[in-house]
Amino acid sequence: MHIHFLDPYRPRTSPVHALDPRVKLVLTLAYILTAALTPIAAWPVYILLFSIILSVEILSGLGVGFVLKRAALSLPFVLAALPVIFTNGGKALFSLPIGSWTLTVYAEGLGRFFSVALKSWLSVQAAIVLASSTPFPDLLQAMRAIRIPRLLVAIFGLMWRYLFVLVDEALRLMRARAARSGVIAETGHRSGGSVTWRAHVAGGMAGTLFLRAFDRSERIYLAMVSRGYDGEIRVLPMAAVGSLSWLVLGLGLFLLILLLLFGFFWG
């Protein structure tokens, strides 16, 4: 096993990394919920929310640039909200004549669009900080602590364990294809075969991957049984949440509730 390029965890020694994963998970969810509940166009609240996550990013030692770069990956979805600028009623700001069409920009629509974009940008940063500062096994235990079904958490855990194995498997399949047949279009090169042929090849690879995974799961199951597996995944219990962690949790939730109230008076 090697440290995989997919694993988002970045080990650092920071207070954010050291915080109890259960507290971190709850605070992240509360932060995202706060962003969702904040009314449209409550700009000061958005700025405050941004300054909170910015502080956490700096405190975590992950680097603001690292988080913002990752956050940018989720921005293209904003396109889905773009039409709302031109269709939402209310005060018309100005009109753009495009050929025989006129696009009217509405103030309310513009506010809604930027609110949606900001909310999504803030939420994704919180999720990135959580994933980058918490090792996955800790996250699994945190999920157990917030009462996600035991079976589902066990399946998540096993999926995580074999994710990298199977991603490597998929990459090997793709390397084999690149060496032998229709290379995914590089500039200047044409791919081999017709589109349906290429799709058929990709399908064969998916089938191969499935078959190998299926066989592998049988072997894993037998290996688990031979080591005493009886349907229960046993993990060491986590230590009780420390008083400092409770304090951080209480303060964090208090701050978020204050922000919500502030948004309520604003909106």
């Binding site: 269709t87 809604r112 399946i155 498997e169 998929a170 499935f210 995944i233």
Partner: protein
Amino acid sequence: MHIPDGFLSTLVSVFLWIISAGVVACALRHLEKDLGERQVPLMGVLAAAIFAGQMLNFSVTGGTSGHLLGAALATILLGPWAAIIIMTSVVSIQALIFQDGGLLALGANLFNMAVIGVTVSYFVYTSIQKLARGKSGGIFVGGAAAAWFSIVIASLACALELALSGTSPANISVPAMGGIHMIIGIGEGLITVGALAFLYAARRDLLHLGQAAPQGGKAVWVGGLLIAGLLAVLSPLASAHPDGLEWVAEQKGFLDAARAPLYQIIPDYAFPGISNAALATIVAGILGMLLVFGVALSVAYMQRSKKA
């Protein structure tokens, strides 16, 4: 099709969270009965396989490429309940670790990709299987149709959710999302058929695995029929009469509830001395901004001086 956080109103997110959680709990119960202790390794590894399988792409033209999503393939090979759990694992890990889709929006993403994707696949595939009367062609035609429909119906659901949240008007989002996914669905269909053809040649016994555990299959079939029918009828209606969806929602009185943050429902909210209050809020906002930016700056400064 992974909706990030911020795009759905809180009411729509919470509502879909509850539905998805219910379906997943039901699927877990069925699986425990069918597979017992075997299910943890089987589901975990196959979820990892679907995740990895989504990397397998093929070039279409120019820079674009098609890739597998896998709901239909998982449903055909393993049956609806197992497929729901596998897709739930895939979509949840994508949201939690790779920020592909939001956490509050996870309920909606699970509903679109795990619940709708799987039930619609199951409905289409078993119906065509029945029509084909056991001929092997039924596997491939059924697989292609199941893949295509699962993608397109799920994208319609996604568009309607965005429209209900007031994020994207139905008359634009439905044709746009539906249109794009009608094309993406063809790629999904082709790959699914390719995978089924490979498995048909290599391990024909596996192709009947999905039908080996048909407990509760009837309910899934009916669910798939209802979802597919409802969305197929509702979305053209919503996009042809852009206000139609809003009209229905308004009649039911839940559009405002869906759009507004929860606490804005509080009626007759009045603030005494509104102009002063507005001014006070602005001042408080500016002060708060300065304060928290100050905190952020001093944290940064402390970090730097610690390193130096």
